[in-house]
């Protein structure tokens, strides 16, 4: 009896383990229309890894990123960008969780065919992914991480690059927070600002950078509060800041919290605009309760207004993806192209091996690309040199660009 039970239990466990592995292998088949292209792919397949939240609250952003990376990979295959090789995108879901992202990174790093990784979306997940990939000298290019410590270390006064294989095409919160403060204090004339964040790497960093610049510009930060990233009822925080009469609320975090927060602010009679960073600049923000007149900053200029992004947008809609390209679409497309271009330079007519990784790293560091989001090149920390940001405001149920500009420190 006992033995039989053990057998059954083992069988069940095995079946479960098999099911799990089957689920997590998520290799996206590239091709479709392009699969019949006439490129020479005799040397095999190189894998472009991708890590972002493909399920959960932030999946609207992550799926747009995945499609954009897929588009870049398909185009490269069609144009025979890497002689002798076929490129394949392998997308891993990190569920916006650092620990799961670490597992995804380990999995990708153990595959010798993975040439580089595009991702992640969240700064907190990048903190666990970048060192894992770094050990194997795998290039990581993030289209969306904005926390400064990823490239400059924890002490901005004596910056040192913690992850030599990590690059990003998005500007950092050290730029984005102050940019928001300049607009909100100087242009919108808000002088009593309540600052709330979600305590995560991205949100807390952004809120701190914002608060410092806002105070420098003569605004009063009337409160600095924290909420949980899974909270849904913000009545406690709102009751706390309501008697302080803020004329604006700045939120460091993402739209799953920001949308309901904005709605509950209004419901408690606090009809002031909520402003946030690129983490709230998504259509879902409005459907979750974001109000007219709420503000957001985002990295880069709006894709649909850039002439350089037109080709990307046309190709994206022609490819017929189910989800919109979302906030980071153009940046992800650029990040993937940076990697592919580097690969073209590094591999040349040779073959890809572990020794090619150094050449690839140098090639990416020296990138000079006219991308969909503008010019892409990196400084000595792996940060983008393109410091263009845009202010958006909710008008008619969606984020409309208000103004774009290059950030000027003052």
């Amino acid at each position: 009896m006992d033995r039989k039970r053990t057998v059954v239990a083992t069988a069940a466990l095995l079946a479960g383990a098999l099911a799990l592995t089957a689920c997590s292998t998520n290799r996206t088949e590239t091709g479709g229309a392009s699969s019949g292209s006439s490129c020479d792919t005799s040397k095999g397949t190189l894998v472009v890894g991708f890590v972002a939240p493909l399920s959960g609250g932030l999946s609207a952003l992550g799926l747009g990123m995945k499609n954009s990376a897929d588009l870049a990979v398909n185009q490269a295959n069609q144009a025979c960008k890497v002689p002798g090789y076929k490129l394949a995108l392998q997308a891993e879901d990190d569920q916006a969780t650092a620990q799961i992202a670490g597992q995804a990174a380990t999995k990708l790093a153990s595959d010798p065919n993975v040439v580089g990784v595009i991702g992640t979306l969240n700064s907190s997940t990048a903190q666990s992914v970048a060192p894992i990939l770094g050990q194997k000298k795998i290039v990581e290019i993030s289209p969306a991480n904005t926390n400064p410590s990823l490239t400059q270390g924890d002490n901005p006064a004596s910056a040192s690059r913690p992850n030599p294989t990590y690059f990003r095409v998005a500007t950092t919160d050290a730029v984005q927070g102050p940019f928001a403060a300049q607009y909100l204090v100087d242009k919108a004339g808000k002088k009593n600002i309540a600052v709330i964040d979600d305590g995560k790497t991205y949100g807390a960093g952004l809120a701190a950078a914002f608060a410092a610049e806002a105070q420098k510009r003569g605004a009063k930060v009337v409160a600095q509060e924290k909420v949980g990233e899974k909270d849904t009822d913000f009545s406690g925080v709102i009751s706390k800041i309501r008697p302080l009469n803020p004329d604006a609320v700045y939120y460091g975090g993402e739209y799953p919290v920001a949308g309901p927060l904005s709605k509950q602010l209004a419901a408690a009679g606090l009809n002031v605009p909520l402003m946030g960073g690129d983490g709230i600049q998504d259509e879902t923000y409005v459907s979750l309760g974001g109000r007219e007149g709420d503000l957001a900053t985002s990295v880069g200029a709006p894709a649909d207004q850039l002439p350089s992004a037109k080709a990307f947008i046309d190709a994206y809609s022609a490819a017929g993806y189910k989800e919109p390209y979302s906030t980071y679409g153009a940046l992800t497309y650029d990040a993937t192209n940076v990697l592919i271009q580097g690969l073209t330079t590094a591999v040349g007519s040779g073959t890809f091996s572990n020794t090619t990784r150094d050449a690839l790293l140098t090639a990416v560091q020296d990138t000079n690309l006219d991308g969909a989001s503008g010019k892409v090149s990196f400084d000595q920390y792996g940060d983008t040199t393109n410091k263009v940001l845009t202010i958006y405001s909710v008008q008619g149920g969606k984020f409309a660009p208000v103004e774009s500009g290059e950030f000027q420190a003052s």
């Binding site: 399920s55 509060e225 949980g228 899974k230 849904t232 406690g236 009751s239 309501r242 419901a267 309760g289």
Partner: protein, 309 residues
């Protein structure tokens, strides 16, 4: 300052009565079969999705636009789904383990919880992210004119009233009816209750059904109050409800309600007045729990643990 204090009290009462409504299910199931049903939070979540499905897929627009028609129908729809899931859960996950060691059903409960979350995530359209839930009651906020004004949403008032009425009704049901007496008997000694002609299986199903119905109502009211729902909502609120049940004395109806209200008030007032602010409001809940358990391990209203022969 007074108005801030009163606003936080109002916030605490709303959250507290929501938690109380869920905690009733926890405490009843524990009282009857000494099982901590960790999947009960998911019953609450399923109720919210069931309510939303009733509204989106089954209801003609002219009814959906009038809250006095829509609200009762959605409440019934949501709690019906919850009852079905709760009863199925009892039948297929817990009943086969009725005589197994106590750890087995506990772990099964955790498994059921994950399974329900994933089921909703995979099968409900759009459930991979939070989805908007319409306000099913009078729109707007009542600003009580004290000091700077104490805002409380009408949906919040509804939540408080409904949950207190249901808790009171439940207590009367258990104290005054034949079924209630059978429930008490089963909880005291299942074997002797069986000798007296009570069918324990029926009573256990009834317990799960009542707990499920209350959780379903809570799910719909929660959605209507906060205007969006996600698949994680059951986990967090379930943990609070479990804490409330333990705080009040698990197995005790009145204790669950008081425990829920205490948790709501501690969270709201702790976030306002205690050091650390709103970042630490959850911490205070568990600090209170620990303090209460040190001095009164059986909770506010709990009976001291009987040692069974």
């Amino acid at each position: 300052m007074l108005s801030t204090f009163l606003s936080q009290i109002a916030n605490g009462l709303v959250l507290g009565s929501l938690i109380a409504l869920i905690a009733l299910g926890y405490t009843m199931v524990y009282g009857i079969i000494t099982l901590i049903n960790f999947a009960h939070g998911e019953i609450f979540m399923v109720g919210a999705y069931g309510g939303l499905a009733t509204l989106t897929y089954l209801m003609p627009t002219f009814i959906a636009q009038r809250w006095y028609y829509a609200l009762p129908i959605v409440l019934v729809g949501g709690s019906l789904i919850s009852v079905l899931v709760a009863v199925a859960m009892e039948r297929f996950a817990y009943r086969p383990l009725r005589n197994a060691p106590r750890l087995a059903p506990l772990i099964t409960a955790l498994g059921v919880s994950v399974a329900l979350q994933e089921a909703v995530r995979v099968f409900y359209p759009g459930a991979t992210a939070a989805i908007p839930f319409p306000n099913l009651f009078v729109e707007g906020t009542w600003i009580i004119p004290i000091g700077d004004g104490v805002p409380i949403r009408y949906t919040g008032i509804l939540l408080i009233v409904v949950s207190l009425v249901l808790a009171f009704g439940l207590e009367r049901f258990i104290e005054r009816t034949r079924m209630g007496r059978a429930m008490r008997a089963t909880s005291q000694d299942r074997d002797v209750a069986r000798l007296m002609g009570v069918d324990p299986d029926r009573i256990i199903v009834l317990t799960f059904a009542i707990g499920g119905a209350l959780a379903g109502v809570a799910g719909v009211l929660y959605g209507s109050y906060l205007n969006n729902i996600n698949i994680d909502m059951g986990f967090q609120n379930g943990i609070f409800a479990f804490t409330a049940a333990v705080l009040g004395g698990i197995g005790n109806i009145r204790g669950a309600v008081i425990g829920g209200l205490v948790i709501g008030l501690v969270k709201a007032l702790g976030g306002q007045y205690l050091p650390g602010g709103t970042a630490y409001d959850y911490v205070w809940i568990f600090v209170v729990l620990i303090i209460v358990l040190v001095f009164r391990p059986q909770g506010f209203f709990g009976e001291t643990e009987r040692v069974r022969a």
